[in-house]
């Protein structure tokens, strides 16, 4: 009896702190990353053969007989803007300007466009040896640098040298050829192109994060340089991600269930204590109620 009373008291005392018990809930989870997967590339078309008349240029998606892009009357020195196209195989065809679309092309070449890549399809060389060359175009630069390459499309000066400021970009570039890309420190400098007795200079800015193609052409007054901006990104790329949020609209995780579970536990203990006591009280009463009637009736 004494033990059970003690036990009940202990149970009651234990229930009290459980009622006051609370633990804050905390969650931490990393968000899944979804990486970008591009499904397009870029193509541009160029006529860089000095003695070839203007052409019509057609771009066909593989197995498609109707052209995706048609450029009419593309004259020497023209480089079209990049067209964004779905990845896959393409055919580029050149016909004489004004020729029927069904006529046999003068030249054709195939291009396999890979996701995120860019290509220049250029008619190069003299008319007698005209060819369509597919160039892989660079789109990314080393951090903080510029990339530059040269297409030599001057027939009059069969070999040229190209300097930009103090950098020799190419000491001798033959007509109809394309130099490899050079990495340069960004800035503005004088571009000097010389061949034979002819020299041409122009001020050219090459910014960080940009890719350029310089095209050397036979202009009206001698050598002419076209500075094509192929691609540009951030000159100085930020490091990592952006801290653009303070959490005011973030979902708050459900609070910890522990305080509620503690309350349920305390409630069960109190109920049990009450029930036990009630049973004991009832047992004592019924025990006294069934006391044998005393003899006294004889």
């Amino acid at each position: 009896m004494r033990f059970s009373r003690l036990a009940r008291r202990i149970i009651l005392l234990a229930a009290l702190p459980l009622l006051l018990f609370a633990i804050p809930a905390a969650t931490a989870a990393t968000a899944a990353a979804a990486s970008a997967a591009t499904t397009t590339g870029w193509i541009r078309l160029a006529h860089l053969s000095p003695n070839t008349p203007a052409v019509d240029v057609y771009l066909y998606s593989f197995d498609d007989s109707s052209a995706q892009i048609v450029l009419h009357h593309v004259a020497y020195g023209t480089v079209s803007p990049y067209e964004q196209v779905p990845t896959g195989d393409y055919t580029v065809a050149m016909r004489a300007a004004g020729a029927a679309a069904t006529s046999a092309p003068v030249l054709s070449a195939s291009v396999d466009v890979v996701a995120g890549h860019a290509y220049t399809v250029a008619g190069l060389g003299p008319e007698s040896g005209l060819r369509l060359q597919v160039l892989d175009d660079q789109l990314s630069t080393p951090p903080g640098k510029a990339l530059v390459r040269i297409i030599q499309a001057s027939l009059k000066q069969s070999v040229v040298s190209v300097k930009w400021g103090g950098d020799v970009l190419n000491g001798s570039l033959k007509f109809g050829s394309v130099s490899s890309y050079q990495t340069v420190s960004p800035g503005t400098a004088t571009l000097t192109v010389s061949g034979g007795g002819d020299t041409s200079t122009t001020s050219v800015p090459l910014a960080a994060g940009t890719v350029h193609t310089l095209v050397v052409l036979d202009g009206a007054n001698g050598l002419q340089i076209d500075n094509l901006l192929d691609a540009a990104g951030s000159g100085l790329e930020p490091a990592g991600a952006a801290a653009t949020g303070f959490g005011g609209m973030a979902p708050r995780a459900p609070s910890s269930p522990l305080p509620w579970l503690a309350a349920i536990g305390a409630g069960l203990l109190l109920t049990a204590a009450g029930g036990l006591r009630l049973r004991r009280v009832s047992a004592v009463r019924s025990a006294s109620a069934v006391r044998p009637v005393s003899a006294g009736r004889r």
Partner: protein, 207 residues
């Protein structure tokens, strides 16, 4: 005995009340609490003629001054953002305005122009709160200092874990005029008080 019975009854009653309260409380507090923002107000498209999509270098394009995204109710001026001393992207000083990273190409020039804005403040939504709700094809308008207007169409909306941020995809060179809109997203880590992801919207200039 009556006292004993009364005590027992009180204990029983108290126990049931506490038990009931505990069970009810547990049931009611199981959902995350999501703060609600004011209803979306879709905006009209800005007026003015839209510039033709012609490849241009940065020198030929004026600096951006304001940004309007009608379908998600965004209309904000653009502050200039640089880099912090640790090389990370500066963020706008207030949560109600977006900013253009001056180290990136100008919107409308060839390249990937970068604009960033906060998703929220400590107390409520920020300028880019609804950025992740943009649909592919949605229009984004940038007004420049010479009053010209360039318009972009959303090509994709991506979410990146901040500890695996794809720098080349977001800041790398591209051969056409493109835009990247950046804000935070994903789970908010209360222990570091920062979001664990960035939402990046990719868009390209259209006429």
């Amino acid at each position: 005995m009556p006292a004993g019975r009364r005590t027992a009854g009180l204990l029983l009653a108290a126990g049931l009340v506490v038990l009931g309260a505990g069970a009810t409380g547990l049931a009611l507090t199981r959902h995350p609490d999501v703060p609600r923002a004011a209803a979306l107000v879709v905006l009209p498209a800005p007026t003015g003629s839209i510039e033709a999509v012609v490849p241009q270098g940065a020198a030929q394009v004026a600096e951006p001054v304001s940004l309007v995204i009608p379908s998600i109710g965004v209309s904000t001026s653009l502050v200039h953002l640089g880099l912090n001393s640790n090389g990370t992207l500066q963020v706008p000083p207030t949560t109600t305005v977006a900013g253009w990273y001056t180290g990136s190409p100008r919107p409308g020039a060839i390249g990937s122009a970068v604009i960033a804005g906060h998703i929220d403040s400590v107390a409520g939504p920020g300028v880019f709160f609804r950025l992740s709700q943009l649909q592919v094809g949605a229009r984004v308008y940038v007004r420049r200092a010479d009053r010209s207007l360039a318009v972009f169409a959303v090509t994709s909306v991506r979410s990146y874990a901040k500890d695996h941020f794809p720098t080349a995809d977001v800041y790398g060179a591209v051969p056409d005029a493109e835009l990247r809109l950046i804000t935070c997203g994903g789970t908010f880590d209360y222990s570091t008080r920062s979001y664990l992801s960035n939402t990046v919207v990719f868009a390209k200039e259209v006429s």
